[in-house]
């Protein structure tokens, strides 16, 4: 992405700063929640949701994924699919055993 003009660079900078603030607050939030010791399942869900939000913020804005080329989406999409396979198929295999 080539924002050659100083103007929309500045616009970007504003976005970066707000993302930065969002990330910090979310960090505080997730930490405080962890001390409320919820029961396991909701705790995991909340923590992972927050992490995913933070992750996608970094990816979309710092790494400019929201305005990226199709090709890169394709490559990452592929990785994402296999990532899921790698997580869930072993889990399934582990839960469905002879007994």
């Amino acid at each position: 992405m080539d924002a050659s003009h100083a103007e929309d660079v500045r616009k970007h900078v504003r976005i970066y700063v707000s993302v930065f603030v969002a990330l910090l607050t979310l960090t505080v939030v997730t930490v405080t929640i962890s001390y409320l010791n919820l029961s396991v399942v909701p705790a995991i869900i909340v923590a992972l949701v927050i992490a995913s939000v933070k992750g996608s913020l970094v990816a979309s804005y710092f790494m400019h994924l929201i305005s990226e080329k199709k090709l890169i989406y394709a490559a990452l999409g592929l990785a994402a699919v296999f990532f899921l396979a790698l997580i869930f198929l072993p889990l399934l295999a582990m839960s469905d055993r002879i007994h």
Binding site: L71, P90, L92, A93, R97
Partner: protein, 578 residues
């Protein structure tokens, strides 16, 4: 990352031949290194085959060189047999076939075929080779470790590998190097194919070989990291005393193993096969690519169903990521999960069938020249056919019960990799040799090499199905001599070994031919095979930067025998006449 090699045209010896960034030089470096490893891996097996044929009898000649901790009085110890087995597998797969098929052929031919000046990242390319070299040296060094080389099979299943001798640690380090090398390489390949295609060379105009390399690179890119992770975990188990793959309460030779426990041996198997199944398609796809090129060229007609072949290759690549647990049917799978993996396994056989059938049908209506490369390429088809078809009974969990971990499996995959992939690679060497040297390899020696190898390969691997069906396990030091159920088929062991040694003899004409032809081979003109693809549009051998003028592509890859043309081939870069 980019390579700015402005002044590389007058480089010193080192930068030109050793630490070269020219994809062609690197390709040749890969080629020779991997051929040497292939030969070495084969030699290991020829030694093993003695023990299998004549269990417990002293190995002639070399037996005495091996030393008492390997073969006292020349009689091979079971420990050493296991080392040879593990190293044969590892070397053949990771140091022999893949570097030759991808590192050598991919590196040398692919950029030329897409009309690129070089790989996208020449420095990275050079690094991949040297990291691979390092990995190879590391692997070899494991033979002199206390307790010898890795001896837990190329699959390195823990807990056995966790408690194995130092060689296993070296094996893991070697693998980390090899994986790193492959990752760098695959990134380079993909970027090159996507970014550096010549003007007019759309994806559907790519030679099938390039497609094969493209899909292969994705397999390497996304399947290898999990094995790297697994390797790190196993290193932790071995060096930091962790228990990733060690459950609690193990008792080894009477002594409780004092580790924290809580790990899972199956975790390794999942991570390993997540790589290793895609890996087997890494072994076959480039081979299919080479065969496709040679068949089109020697039938003098376009490939039949090029598009369907391309889609099949892509689908094959995709599916290969979700069939891995068909290697684990016997680990105690329930019905749901085994059904899933059986189904995907049956599905994945279809694209292979499509590709092979397309190649087969491409022959129809051709004007077939039986050149040496063509002979090897043709032999590939039925050989892969046998290997592939025998994959089916293995892919169904019920029939895998009697066959799992028997010689049937050994037979299955050797048919695909040895008379399959190796033949395709031989074909590639004979086919592109004139491109490298401007000379062609001797046809008579070539034919001797072909027919000899063809007979021997089948003599080695066909009996394995018989032995396997009889229920004889693999990885047996005495080839099953202990077992009653092995007695009826035991006599095959000697027969197969003879085959292996004779196969060794029939490689001599090839090795001689290869070196002799470099200097003494018959000089041939630029486009000796009258081929259409771009690699033949460069001077021979191609200069640094490959093309004298920026090439442009106007037509599909295999415009042979176009009706109404007097020449029976039209190069891709020949403009359409208005």
């Amino acid at each position: 990352m980019e390579g700015n090699h402005d002044h590389e045209h007058h480089l010193g010896f080192w930068r030109k031949y050793v630490f070269s960034q020219d994809h062609k030089v690197i390709g040749i470096q890969y080629g020779f290194t991997s051929l040497l490893f292939l030969l070495f891996g084969f030699t290991l097996m020829m030694v093993m085959r003695w023990q299998l044929a004549y269990p417990g009898q002293p190995i002639p000649i070399i037996g005495s060189w091996l030393g008492d901790d390997r073969a006292p009085q020349g009689i091979m110890l079971p420990e050493f047999y296991n080392q040879l087995g593990a190293m044969h597998g590892t070397i053949m797969v990771f140091l022999g076939i893949v570097p030759l098929a991808v590192g050598a052929f991919g590196n040398y031919v692919m950029p030329l075929q897409i009309g690129a000046p070089d790989m996208a990242f020449p420095k990275l390319n050079m690094m991949s080779y040297w990291v691979y070299f390092l990995g190879g040296v590391t692997m070899l060094s494991s033979f002199v470790m206390p307790g010898g080389a890795a001896n837990s099979g190329w699959t390195s299943y823990p807990p056995l590998s966790d408690i194995a001798t130092t060689g296993q640690t070296v094996w893991l380090c070697g693998m980390v190097f090899l994986i790193t090398s492959s990752l760098l390489g695959s990134i380079n390949f993909i970027v090159t194919i996507v970014q550096l295609r010549a003007k007019g060379l759309t994806f559907m105009r790519l030679p099938f070989f390039v497609w094969a390399q493209f899909v292969t690179s994705f397999l390497l890119l996304l399947a290898f990291p999990p094995l790297e992770a697994a390797g790190v975990l196993q290193l932790m188990d071995r060096l930091a005393g962790s228990s990733f793959f060690l459950p609690s309460g193990l008792v080894v030779t009477g002594q409780p193993l004092n580790v924290s426990g809580g790990g899972s041996p199956l975790l390794w198997q999942h991570l390993f096969w997540f790589l290793a199944h895609p890996e087997v398609y890494v072994l076959i796809l480039p081979a299919m690519g080479i065969v496709a090129e040679i068949i089109a060229n020697n039938t003098r007609k376009p490939l039949w169903g090029y598009k369907s072949m391309v889609y099949a290759a892509i689908f094959l690549g995709f599916m290969s990521f979700i069939v891995w647990a068909h290697h684990m049917f016997m680990t105690g799978m329930g019905t749901i999960i085994s059904t899933f993996f059986q189904t995907t396994t049956m599905i994945i056989s279809i694209p292979s069938v499509i590709i092979l059938t397309a190649l087969l049908i491409s022959l129809w209506g051709g004007s077939i020249r039986f050149t040496t490369p063509m002979l090897f390429a043709l032999a590939f088809l039925p050989m892969f056919g046998i290997g592939g078809l025998t994959g089916l009974p293995l892919g169904l969990s019920a029939t895998d019960i009697p066959l799992h971990d028997t010689y049937y499996v050994i037979g299955h995959f050797h048919y695909v990799v040895a008379p399959g992939t190796i033949f395709a690679l031989f074909a590639g060497i004979y086919h592109w040799f004139p491109k490298l040297t401007g000379r062609k390899m001797n046809e008579v020696l070539g034919r001797i090499h072909f027919f000899g190898s063809f007979v021997c390969m089948n003599a080695i691997f066909m009996p394995m199905f018989i032995v396997g069906l009889a229920g004889v396990s693999r990885r047996l030091w005495d080839g099953g001599a202990q077992y009653a159920h092995a007695q009826p088929v035991l006599h095959w062991n000697a027969f197969m070994s003879m085959g292996a040694w004779t196969l060794g003899l029939f490689q001599l004409p090839f090795i001689f031919n290869l070196f002799w032809s470099i200097w003494k081979g018959k000089k041939v003109e630029e486009n000796h095979w009258q081929a259409t693809t771009l690699e033949w549009a460069t001077p021979t051998p191609p200069p640094h930067g490959n093309f004298l003028t920026v090439p442009e592509v106007y037509r599909p890859p295999y415009e042979y025998s176009v009706p109404g043309q007097k020449r029976d081939f039209i190069p891709q870069n020949q403009p359409m006449e208005a």
